[in-house]
């Protein structure tokens, strides 16, 4: 289903970027990172607009209640579609599908939503590790394996 999944911290630094592609060469990794990095523009814009909508009394409560964590399709290029998801602690999850592959182009919104929810759960599990320092990159092999599973699951 997905070709790339990224977890990005609240300061916009990458915590985890995983991708499945035909090769793991530098060029592929580079284009993947560019793609995720530029997706942050759309993500931030989306977050800024939801915040201004919810200003008022007890903003915090309202925001967490009203805002759907899943942000939907952020933008699409000729080759890829990029979906976003933001946790309450402003951890951003990005999922990239390929519009050229048959499984990627016909993906339904609900599937992406489910996948990102599962990714959120996995992330929560990963940072529960007492030896993990919040803000550090996620190096857990288990996490990596499970995330790759999500990506492959629906291919």
């Amino acid at each position: 289903m997905a070709v790339c999944v990224a977890v990005i911290g609240k300061d916009n630094s990458p915590l985890y970027i995983g991708g499945i592609g035909n090769d793991t060469s530098t060029d592929n990794e580079l284009s993947r990172q560019w793609l995720v990095h530029t997706a942050l523009d759309a993500l931030e814009e989306r977050l800024a607009s939801t915040n201004t909508n919810n200003t008022g009394a007890n903003t915090n409560a309202a925001r967490t209640d009203l805002r759907d964590l899943y942000l939907g399709l952020l933008y699409s290029t000729d080759t890829h579609k990029i979906y976003g998801y933001v946790t309450n602690t402003r951890i951003k999850l990005v999922l990239v599908t390929s519009s050229t592959s048959p499984s990627g182009s016909n993906i339904r919104d609900a599937e992406v939503r489910t996948a990102l929810r599962r990714l959120h759960a996995l992330y929560a599990d990963a940072i529960c590790n007492p030896f993990h320092l919040p803000g550090d990159q996620i190096t857990s092999l288990k996490f990596d394996k499970q995330v790759k599973n999500i990506m492959l699951n629906n291919v």
Partner: protein
């Protein structure tokens, strides 16, 4: 926008130009005739968007209209040679006017009317002859100098206008009069609209003509004509400003073009024309405010033509064409936005410029694959020379439609020529230009990261075009952003490219800075070869040329070597590297051992250094810069007495620095400004690694200090990660060992000069000197602004300016100094006096150290007494008001509150204006020289009377001044003043004086004489009755009416005879006033008050 790079795909100007109806103006001599020039300027200048969409052209006498082609009656044998003729639009927009307007100077009442009308008619005729064959309309404007014709000539004007129309053979609606007057602009605007109407009519007529051709066409041979005619209709409608009809016709043209058969020979023509039509379509859709449709049109356009590649030898032309489609659309989009169209982050012109850049990259790739052999331009004759009649046709085979090339050799030469041109084309400049446009758009539409990516691509483009300096500048800026957001992979990519640029441009400073950063653990370098980079740094330090970076373009390597050879031994020899802002292989954490140091302590500083790269780094010299208020000092870092420091890779080293504080820095903060390491190999060149320490950025924001303990750094590393740097330490003054004792007899009394003795004792180990003592008042919440009501002095009774300064030259060990200060305050609150002692002391480690010590003493201030007042009548009955000229007694009562015994020296009542003392001589106070103790009450009594009734009742009777002192203090008296409360004054028309004895004997007659005085200027009539009692008999009038003359008096005499002994009420007189009832009450009150309530009757003793 003129910034777009040009090549053969660029749209011709007539396609881009906005079509405007063309109107020719003839008969205007704009050079020699001032009036004509003014008219021409009014037409041609300031053609803003709100004016009529027409274009004016000044036609001179020599202007020639294009020759009309013979009308074709049948298309049966006609085969079109191409789709769109190149000169058709040009003719429409600048050669064939829709209307020719002939200007002629003529007044209706011109004396030479007949000659003029003939001349005008001939001019019209000559124009008619010139436009022969075109349907161009003709109109006449008569320029008249007179403001307006007088009414008598109105008829004449109408007549002559008709005559003129007849002479010129024009309709009357084509004749206009232009009075040359003040309102020229208004007339011009109206004329413009009239011309525009005629022009629209003309274009409508023209398009009808073209529509008629349609019936003669057939689809097999005339497919091109379907396109051409629809395009012409579209264009004519555009000239007519009928945009939606124009769009409809262009759409037909576009669809007809799609149906044409495409072969290699006409691919270029078809896609060129398709591009123009698509451009027109998109432009119209934007103008019709249908941006979504415009975007959809472009998408389908690209989709349709994406695979119509044509000949593979000229593949690059296809990509060039696509790139141009995108960039032209970007420009249209951008123009629409500037005209007010809103755009969003996900849909703006930037994306189209980006696509244009991407396809230009593809174009270059295609060029590389197909143009490799095109090493030279083909020999003459030049196949690209020649004029083509149709858009998009090849000069070497103009107007040919057959699919097979008729001359293979010529064809081959032409392809070679195109390939060669493409080979020498500067693709990078074009890509950079497209990227530049895209970058500014992405910046506008809130996409900073997209912009960064494009900037990096732009830098790459500069790299490919060997402009390493520009590439390096761009990359170093971008590196900063990626580093800040910790996208290390991207940062590494940028860094490696930047390092290549720095090497190739031979910039030592940048090269070293980037190399140092490349050694960071976060950065990935090609082949993971950090040793190479480390060796390069060392080479530069040893004045050797560093090894080349991998994957460099071979062409630039030689030049780079030359650059290095000339630069390596030259300035800059000392290269500072800013380490704080880069991710580096060396980490430092400086830390003051304590957050606070006293002046007489040695300041200790710890410095932890971690080298993350596995090597042994020899640091020749290291120092820490520390700044204070006054100066910045550099503290050398010393490793076990050795100034050369060896740092082991992957290890943490700790250094301790010590220094003495500067005596001037007392009370201020010390800050660690920077830590610097100097690398030096005795070869002139030095590298200074500077760590700037910023106070605000002490800890890494992502790592929470409380979590630092979880980092599993080796214990041997001093737990580097969990060290929290402390970069600010405050210097406080040394603890003083002086003591102070204040003795006084508190509480102080309000208003007195209160003495306090303070004694300073030197408990230091040595003599102190230059002692300065400052006394000042401190404000407190319950006593704000104490200096406004409180005086301080060293002398009793003499106020001095605050604060008070005292100087004592020296005070030897264990001796003391005593002094007295006085405080006088008018506020009953606690006064706080600060005694600040500053002095110098010579300590073994520091000489002449300034020390200060503050002492505070609090003095409670209370009131010495309280004064209250009673008012009584002469008979000591309390009263609540007094009458004019009626004496009464004021009794101030002084209640003593002071815990100390006081002596009241004297008292005095100062009455206000409307009172006076009843005694002619001012009496002595009854309580002079009276000693009083706490809770005693001293009563005074003063008899006063009102002089007159003032307008407003007075607020007080007067000031009561008490002069007093403490019983113990013999020298100084204090005068306290208290305002005594007021008593209302009333004015009674009569005054009464009653004379009677206080005590009488039983059964003895005594006289009771009552005198009534008139107080006002009119006589007063009173009815008097005597109210008798059982205790007395009396003689005299029981009821009488009296008249008291003004300022006169009436005496009444009675004899009273007491019948019983004891306290008795004597007979009393009651009065009622006759006439003036207003003062009745006052008079009754007065009588009540004056007549005695009781008289004591003594029993008669029998002798």
């Amino acid at each position: 926008m003129a910034t777009q790079p040009s090549d053969y795909t660029e749209f011709p100007p007539e396609i881009i130009l906005k079509p405007l109806a063309l109107i020719g103006l003839s008969g205007l001599d704009a050079v020699n005739n001032a009036i004509h020039k003014e008219i021409w300027d009014a037409f041609s200048n300031n053609r803003r968007a709100d004016r009529t969409p027409v274009r004016f052209k000044l036609l001179n006498n020599t202007f020639e209209f294009p020759v009309v082609k013979p009308k074709r009656n049948s298309y049966e044998w006609y085969i079109p040679k191409g789709v769109l003729k190149k000169n058709w639009i040009h003719k429409r927009v600048s050669l064939i006017p829709a209307v020719v307007v002939i200007f002629y100077d003529m007044d209706w009442n011109d004396p030479q009317w007949n000659e003029k009308i003939i001349e005008c008619a001939s001019k019209v005729q000559s124009i008619r002859a010139a436009v022969e064959g075109h349907a161009t309309r003709v109109a006449v404007v008569v320029i008249q100098s007179r403001l307006s014709p007088p009414p008598s000539e109105y008829m004449l004007g109408a007549e002559r206008a008709q005559a003129l129309c007849a002479a010129c053979e024009i309709q009357s609606k084509s004749l206009f009069v232009l009075p040359h007057s003040d309102h020229l602009m208004g007339y011009i605007v109206r004329l413009e609209n009239a011309f525009y109407d005629i022009a629209q009519n003309y274009y409508h007529h023209e398009s009808k003509n073209i529509k008629q051709h349609r019936d003669h066409l057939n689809k097999t041979t005339h497919q091109y004509l379907f396109v051409r005619h629809q395009f012409k209709l579209g264009y004519l409608n555009e000239l007519k400003q009928d945009l939606s009809t124009a769009h409809k016709h262009y759409m037909h043209a576009y669809n007809n073009l799609l149906e044409t058969r495409i072969v290699d020979t006409n691919t270029h023509e078809v896609r060129t024309v398709a591009g123009y039509i698509n451009y027109k379509l998109c432009k119209l859709l934007f103008a019709l405010n249908l941006p979504r449709d415009a975007i959809a049109q472009l998408k389908s356009h690209i989709e349709r033509y994406k695979n119509r590649i044509g000949s593979t030898e000229l593949l690059f032309e296809h990509y060039a064409w696509i790139a141009r489609q995108y960039s032209a659309f970007g420009e249209l989009f951008d123009e629409a936005i500037r005209a007010g169209l809103p755009a969003i982050q996900s849909q703006h012109p930037g994306f189209y410029y980006q696509h244009a850049a991407q396809f230009t990259v593809k174009r270059r790739q295609a060029m590389r694959s197909v143009c490799a052999e095109a090493m030279a331009y083909p020999p003459p004759p030049d196949p690209l020379e020649g004029i083509v009649e149709f858009y998009g046709q090849r000069p070497w085979r103009p107007g040919r439609l057959s699919a097979d090339p008729h001359d293979p050799q010529k064809e081959q030469a032409a392809v070679l020529a195109l390939q060669y041109n493409e080979r020498i084309f500067n693709h990078s400049a074009m890509i950079i230009s497209f990227l530049g446009s895209a970058i500014s758009q992405f910046k506008t539409f809130h996409s900073p990261r997209m912009r960064k990516q494009l900037v990096v691509e732009m830098a790459n483009e500069y790299f490919y075009s060997a402009d390493y300096g520009k590439a390096l500048t761009l990359l170093t800026h971008m590196l900063w952003d990626y580093r800040r957001e910790k996208w290390w992979f991207l940062a590494s990519h940028v860094l490696n490219r930047a390092l290549q640029c720095a090497y190739l441009s031979g910039k030592i400073q940048d090269y070293l800075q980037l190399s140092v950063e490349a050694l960071s653990k976060h950065m990935q370098v090609p082949n993971n070869d950090k040793d190479r980079i480390y060796r390069n740094i060392m080479s530069v330090l040893n004045l050797n040329i560093p090894a080349a970076e991998p994957d460099l373009p071979a062409a630039s390597q030689h030049k780079a070597l030359e650059l290095w050879q000339s630069a390596i031994e030259k300035e800059p020899l000392i290269i500072p590297v800013d380490m704080a802002n880069i991710s580096s292989f060396l980490e430092v954490k400086p830390k003051f051992k304590q957050p606070r140091y006293r002046m007489d302590e040695i300041i200790e500083l710890e410095l932890y250094v971690r080298l993350l790269y596995a090597t042994v780094l020899e640091v020749r010299n290291a120092f820490i810069a520390i700044s204070s208020q006054t100066e910045t000092i550099e503290i050398p870092v010393i490793d076990e007495g050795n100034s050369i420091i060896l740092l082991q890779g992957e290890k943490v080293k700790k250094f301790v620095c010590q220094f003495k504080p500067n005596p001037h820095d007392s009370g201020s903060d010390l800050r660690i400004k920077s830590v610097s390491f100097v690398l030096d190999n005795d070869r002139k060149r030095k590298i200074v690694l500077n760590f700037k320490i910023e106070g605000s950025k002490v800890t890494d924001s992502t790592i929470h200090p409380e979590l630092l303990h979880f980092i599993r750094s080796p214990k041997a590393d001093y737990e580097f990660d969990s060290i929290v740097p402390l970069t600010v330490a405050s210097i406080t003054s040394r603890d003083s060992k002086l003591s102070l004792l204040v003795t006084n007899s508190s509480p102080a009394l309000q208003g007195e000069w209160f003495p306090s003795i303070f004694t300073i004792t030197n408990n230091e180990d040595s003599q102190v000197y230059d002692i300065k003592i400052t006394l000042s008042l401190l404000s407190s919440p319950d006593n704000p602004n104490p200096d406004s009501v409180t005086e301080l002095s060293m002398k009793e009774g003499e106020p001095q300016t605050q604060p008070l300064y005292l100087q004592v030259s020296s005070l030897s060990k264990s001796s003391s100094h005593a002094n007295t200060f006085f405080l006088k305050t008018n506020r009953t609150a606690t006064a706080t006096v600060q005694i600040k002692v500053s002095y110098y002391i010579d300590l073994p480690e520091i000489t002449k150290l300034e020390c200060t010590k503050d002492f505070c003493t609090k003095i409670t201030v209370i009131k010495p007494f309280e004064v209250s007042t009673n008012f009584v009548a002469m008979n000591f009955n309390p009263i609540t008001k007094c009458f004019v000229d009626d004496p009464f007694i004021v009794m101030p009562q002084i209640k003593i509150l002071s815990p100390w015994d006081l002596l009241i020296v004297d008292t005095e009542l100062e009455v206000i204006e409307c009172f006076k003392t009843s005694d002619s001589i001012k009496p002595l106070s009854c309580i002079t020289n009276l000693e009083v103790a706490e809770k005693n009450v001293a009563s005074d009594a003063v008899c006063i009377q009102a002089k007159y009734k003032p307008k407003d009742n007075p607020t007080r009777v007067g000031l009561y001044n008490i002069t007093w002192r403490r019983k113990s203090n013999t020298s100084h008296c204090v005068m306290s003043s208290t305002a005594l409360s007021a008593l209302p004054i009333d004015d009674c028309p009569v005054a009464i004086e009653v004379k009677y004895p206080q005590v009488v004997e039983l059964l003895t007659s005594v006289p009771l004489k009552c005198t009534l005085f008139g107080k006002c200027s009119t006589p007063i009539r009173l009815t008097l009755t005597v109210e008798g009692t059982d205790a007395y008999m009396f003689s005299g009038y029981k009821k009488i009416s009296v008249t008291i003359p003004p300022k006169g008096k009436v005496e009444l005499c009675y004899n009273i005879h007491p019948l019983v002994a004891g306290n008795t009420t004597p007979p009393r007189l009651k009065a009622s006033i006759i006439g003036d009832t207003a003062s009745q009450e006052l008079v009754s009150e007065m009588f009540d008050k004056i007549f005695p309530q009781n008289i004591f009757v003594m029993p008669k003793y029998n002798k």
